[in-house]
């Protein structure tokens, strides 16, 4: 009275095939799950027992042992409910053994209903070669079908699964048209740049940031539109490719943040965590196998940090490595996982604690030492990763009324898409560097060729404003993006001039 079948587990955004073995023998009635189960897996025993009885099957008397192999991998989540229940039904002859290598995944409700679980997409993606098909909850069917060419059979209840495996009923496999999904409605904008009044320079900075993948810091008094500008950012970026969408969906699936019945996250993520966020919330962590943090949830999208200096310093410092590597390795006792984190950082801060320093109307109430302390919370190495720094001043009263004439997000995005394509073509042979923001060292010299006048202008600016080497590199990078937006191969003086402008607000921050 032994049975075995397949299931899967996620470790970070990777997946492993798990073999479920079940043995039912004589003896006192016990039901044990072994193979390093976490608490929620051990608890599954009660759900499985109730589900089997309430679905009209008999729960065997005697000693039941379910083993989840490999036994050295920590098992988390509730997805093993369905496979363990099926294994018990097989071991007691209520399901005839079947030759197909089906992978089963699903949580059981006490009445025998099968519910969706997290992590189905990575599991479907990575086990495709080893299985003949998947049996999952209806909630997860589309998500699984997106990732694999193997048939995906959705089941509503434990009884459905039993009858399907006994060939008493047919279940149509779910399939999705990937091309249709990808080209699906991308044109709608959540927030349009045209909604923001005034702020021409900030809008231009957003455009440059989107075009080159540069990180951006906005400094301005409360209510000037910093948050609204940031919210426009994800829609300025080119649409996600299928491959990118799959990467994003993988993270959201692992985090259990997909809507039931959802298939693919095809919108660029926008994450705006509150400044009280913990270190683990930002980079990832938590009990058991560490889960993804905000920086990974913002993968291929935008991470917006409002009130930047209010964030815990330690939290901000941990951003440095992922900003550089575009991924984060979280190591804990017994397990280490790597999550991708290629996000664009958009940050906002007030010029001083009260917010009104330099405001033409309202007076600032802060003392010099308050202001100094406030700005010193941002470390040099952190600011090092931010290429653009603009002021977002109060909107003049006359701009608040009258018709809006601002450009729409759609126009801006067209330019951004073109500029991105130019970079992509230029950096095609480079494995690590795909955008201007990542240009450094040799790359910078090869790709940021300045016209003679431009070189001269930059030299003069460096001397005149006492710019650091770091600032100098930043200006060249940004100028490259501006030139790309203008369809220019070389960097002209006007590109350099604009690049210098797009960092002027940085003078307010030490070390920028």
């Amino acid at each position: 009275m032994f049975s075995r079948l397949l299931s899967g587990a996620v470790v970070g955004v990777d997946a492993r095939l798990i073999e479920i073995q079940c043995d039912v023998s004589g003896g006192l009635p016990t039901f044990n799950v072994v193979g390093l189960p976490e608490k929620e897996v051990s608890e599954s025993r009660e759900r499985i027992r109730s589900a089997i009885k309430n679905a009209g099957f008999s729960f065997p008397a005697g000693r039941i042992t379910a083993n989840l192999a490999p036994a050295d991998l920590r098992k988390e989540g509730v997805g093993f409910d369905l496979p363990i229940a099926i294994a018990i039904l097989m071991a007691t002859g209520q399901i005839a053994s079947f030759p197909q290598r089906y992978l089963l995944l699903g949580e059981l409700a006490l009445n025998g209903e099968v519910r969706g679980v997290r992590g189905v997409l990575p599991i479907a993606l990575e086990t495709a070669d080893d299985i003949d098909g998947l049996i999952v909850s209806q909630d997860n069917a589309l998500e699984a079908a997106i990732a694999t060419d193997k048939p995906v059979y959705p089941v509503k209840t434990l009884a459905d699964a039993q009858q399907f495996l006994n060939r008493e009923i047919e279940i149509a496999s779910v399939s999705v048209d990937r091309n249709a999904l990808c080209s699906a409605e991308q044109a709608s904008f959540r927030h349009d740049l045209a909604e923001v009044r005034g702020q021409m320079q900030a809008k231009r900075a957003l455009e440059v940031a989107a075009a080159g993948g540069h990180n951006l810091l906005m400094i301005g008094p409360p209510g000037s539109g910093k948050s609204l500008l940031a919210r426009c950012m994800p829609d300025l970026l080119p649409a996600l490719s299928f491959h990118e969408a799959l990467e994003v969906t993988r993270i959201y699936s692992t985090a259990g943040m997909l809507e039931p019945g959802a298939s693919l996250v095809w919108r660029r993520p926008y994450r705006a965590p509150h400044h009280t966020i913990s270190y683990a919330g930002m980079v990832g962590g938590g009990h058991g196998i560490p889960g993804p943090g905000e920086i990974s949830l913002a993968h291929h999208g935008v991470l917006f940090l409002d009130e930047l200096p209010e964030f815990d310093r330690r939290v901000l410092e941990t951003l440095r490595q992922p900003l550089e590597d575009r991924s984060i390795l979280i190591s804990r006792a017994g397990v280490s996982v790597r999550y991708p984190s290629a996000f664009t950082l958009v940050a906002a801060m007030n010029p001083c604690p009260c917010g009104f320093l330099g405001d033409p109307i309202q007076a600032c109430k802060c003392s010099m030492s308050d202001i100094r302390r406030y700005r010193k919370r941002l470390s040099g190495p952190f600011l090092d990763r931010i290429d653009l720094c603009v002021e977002v001043p109060r909107v003049p009263a006359e701009d608040l009324f009258g018709t809006r004439t601002a450009e729409t997000s759609a126009c801006v995005r067209d330019r951004v898409v073109r500029a991105r394509q130019t970079q992509w073509d230029r950096l095609r042979d480079d494995e690590e560097c795909h955008s201007n923001a990542q240009l450094d060292g040799d790359n910078l010299d090869t790709h940021c060729v300045l016209e003679d006048d431009a070189e001269l202008l930059l030299q003069r600016a460096v001397v005149r404003f006492g710019l650091s080497a770091r600032a100098h590199v930043r200006i060249r990078r940004v100028a490259r993006t501006i030139a790309d937006l203008a369809n220019s191969n070389t960097i002209r003086p006007d590109h350099i001039a604009e690049a210098i402008q797009l960092r002027t607000a940085g003078d307010a921050v030490p070390d920028f």
Binding site: G26, G27, L28, P29, T30, F31, A61, G62
Partner: protein
Amino acid sequence: MPIRGDEAEEKACRYLKERGYRILARNWRTRTGEIDIIAREEGTLVFVEVKARSGDGFGGPEAAVDRAKQRRIVSTALSFIEVTACELPMRFDVVAISPGQMRLHQDAFQVPD
């Protein structure tokens, strides 16, 4: 009219026989405790606890079979298995008797963790 323990067990035995249980032993006891009825239903060895209540307070007779009671029954069952070297699948049932009512709970509990 209160129901006495042995009366209740007598009633439970008759009821179980009607249901097709073969009674193997009654009031099987060791130092650790006592099992009211040991029976066989088809291929399964069943340890039955009979609990009677004359009123319906305190959640009925079922409520009296708590963790501690279950542990006692399990350890007594273990001695029975040792003595008889039985290898059948096994189950714990509870027969709950209150005035005018008799309820049989099959597979009422498992060996506690």
